[in-house]
Amino acid sequence: MNIAFREIQAKQGYWLTMAVLAALAGVGVLSALYMEHHGHIVTGMTNQIVWGLPHVFAVFLIVAASGALNVASIATVFGKTLYKPLNRLSALMALTFLAGGLMVLVLDLGRADRIIVAMTEYNFKSIFAWNVILYNGFFVIVIAYLWTMMDRQGGPWYKAVGTFAFVWRLILTTGTGSIFGFLVAREAYDAALLAPMFIIFSFNYGLALFMLILMGLYKGDQRPLGDKLLGRMRSLLGTFVAASLYFTLVYHLTNLYFTKHHGLEAFLLLEGGVHTQVFWLGQVLVGYVVPMTILFNAALSGRGWTVIAAVAAVLGGLSQMWVTIVGGQAYPIEMFPGYAVSSSFYDGAVHAYSPSMVEVLLGVGGLATAILLTVGACKVLRFMPERLDDETLAALHGKH
């Protein structure tokens, strides 16, 4: 028995959803044009907080994109056939969320009009330049991967291309984590741990978003989605959230051991104002404690609880990116250890940052674009299995 894939039937609310997403995406692009016209003076970003809210969204989306591919990898590389019906949607989301993230990243450039320069001039010692190649390569490889899934002629290449895509995505997320890991100047970064930590984060955020999109699409198009499949994904998400917490613990414990990092840790964990709050309430409580409490509790296995857990994991992910990116810059560079430092350039001071509306709209626009592309693609091509109820899956794959 083969599983049947069908396009979205555009039932209730489909066009309204698309219109709202398109409006949000459009406003995001308009915000970027406004920034482009006036310069970064209209943002809350400064010469001290050089990467702000757009980077929080962009890096989150890029990391989540590589994680979204994980569902397909589990089926292709690790042979878990239960997940095989989901591999098309998984690969699609890897493409659309990467596109959304890159849109924000590129539109936030000081000279977004010079994108052709970024594509043609490479400094190969720069991890940023490597990432340009890794992102472009990812698009090509995942499109090829989709071809092996969706076209009979591509079938023989399915395993090979899928394995290659899995390896590529691990390298890609290593590259994303290393954007921060390779920064020797700042206390919060400069750590090899950031690369594997970002890979674990990607598993977490990518799966949480995948579950939300899956549930949303199946509910919207009134297709059956079984509890057994969702139950598996709940356990998996719980494991990834726990692993994220573990890496966060190791990161902070390492810093707490080194005297030279005590100032940074005191800032992030105790005295950092909004950054401390975002860490404890956003990243730890909402991002780790809430999802694990729900996902590892059989009494909270209802669909609504699962949605809450996945939304919490996503909000926790955005919080983590805020703490890593903005919090990491807000803490002043220690140019003169053992000295109190002050200057007209705000040396030695905790740097203030409050994002402007254009940054919020650009970031949200990127997320909306990713969802818009996903839902739109499901309307025109066959990414979604017609049925994913327990009986259908059991008939397909035995007692999985």
């Binding site: 006036h38 310069g39 970064h40 003076i41 970003m45 400064t46 010469n47 001290q48 050089v50 990467w51 450039l109 000081g110 000279r111 977004a112 010079r114 994108i115 320069v117 970024a118 001039e121 490479y122 400094n123 010692k125 720069s126 991890i127 940023f128 330049a129 340009v132 954007i179 390779f182 920064l183 020797v184 100047a185 700042r186 810059q329 560079i333 140019m335 003169f336 053992g338 000295y339 109190a340 430092v341 002050s342 200057s343 007209s344 350039f345 705000y346 040396d347 740097h351 203030a352």
Partner: protein, 249 residues
């Protein structure tokens, strides 16, 4: 030979014209020849030499308390606004430091340290951040995409993003909205064999706290001063071999 008075007058007047012409020619060419002879200014077509390494030595003991001559001179030289909001460009700034244990206080100018191994050059995706053969670290404004990764990477926070469109720019100091910029060691002056504006201003203010020159040439005052007395690199632990060194901290 015809020596009548009329022809003598004609010869004399011809000589006078030739002499005047020679004098005018000499007067026109001499400054250029003198300039070339004295200053050894590098012609535009000749690339920067790797035999030279431009460097700066700053004596914090001599740095005037509250004096900002170097900052003002830099702003004027490069057409910077001089404003000090968090979005304004500052290529050089006065930093006050106080030792938390001993309470010893120092003030020093902080600028691009023109590292031998600059992190900003390492991370720049397009190669816009670059180091000239003579050690001056620059941003190619035509290649800069404004990603600000160099600003994340610089251990000295020496770089600024141009946050708004500019008007009335200095013709020999290319700047542009959306691009990152920082101290160039006044490359336009150095290539004319002049000293950077900040160093000149410090000397004019009578402090003589800043010394500029080729640190590869053992005969230069800066090389001799560096050899004679210990100097410090800020964040020496990063092993970047900075072109700017400090004494007195």
């Amino acid at each position: 030979m015809n020596t009548n008075s009329g022809s003598t007058t004609a010869v004399e007047s011809r000589r006078a014209v030739l002499k005047a012409g020679a004098a005018i020619t000499a007067a026109t060419l001499a400054p250029g020849l003198m300039f070339y002879g004295v200053a050894h200014s590098r012609p535009a077509e000749e690339p920067a030499s790797k035999d030279v390494r431009w460097g700066m030595l700053i004596d914090t003991q001599k740095c005037g308390d509250g004096c900002k001559s170097c900052v003002t001179a830099c702003n004027e030289e490069h057409g910077l606004s001089g404003k000090t909001g968090p979005q304004d460009s500052q290529w050089i700034r006065k930093v006050d430091i106080r030792n938390l244990q001993t309470d010893a206080q120092h003030a020093l100018p902080m600028l691009c340290q023109h590292c031998e191994n600059p992190p900003c050059v390492d991370v720049c995706p397009t190669g816009a951040s670059m180091k000239r053969a003579d050690g001056i670290v620059l941003v190619d404004s035509h290649l800069c995409i404004g990603c600000r990764y160099c600003m994340m990477a610089c251990p000295y926070q020496a770089r600024s993003l141009v946050h708004e469109p500019l008007t009335d720019q200095k013709p020999d100091v290319p700047r542009g909205v959306g691009c990152v910029e920082s101290c160039t060691f006044c490359v336009q002056r150095v290539d004319r064999d002049e000293t950077p504006a900040c160093v000149e201003a410090c000397t004019e203010a009578g402090h003589n706290a800043m010394l500029f020159g080729d640190i590869n040439n053992p005969e230069t005052p800066i090389a001799k001063a560096l050899k004679a007395r210990a100097s410090t690199e800020v964040r020496a632990d990063l092993n970047l071999n900075t072109g700017v060194r400090y004494q007195g901290i």
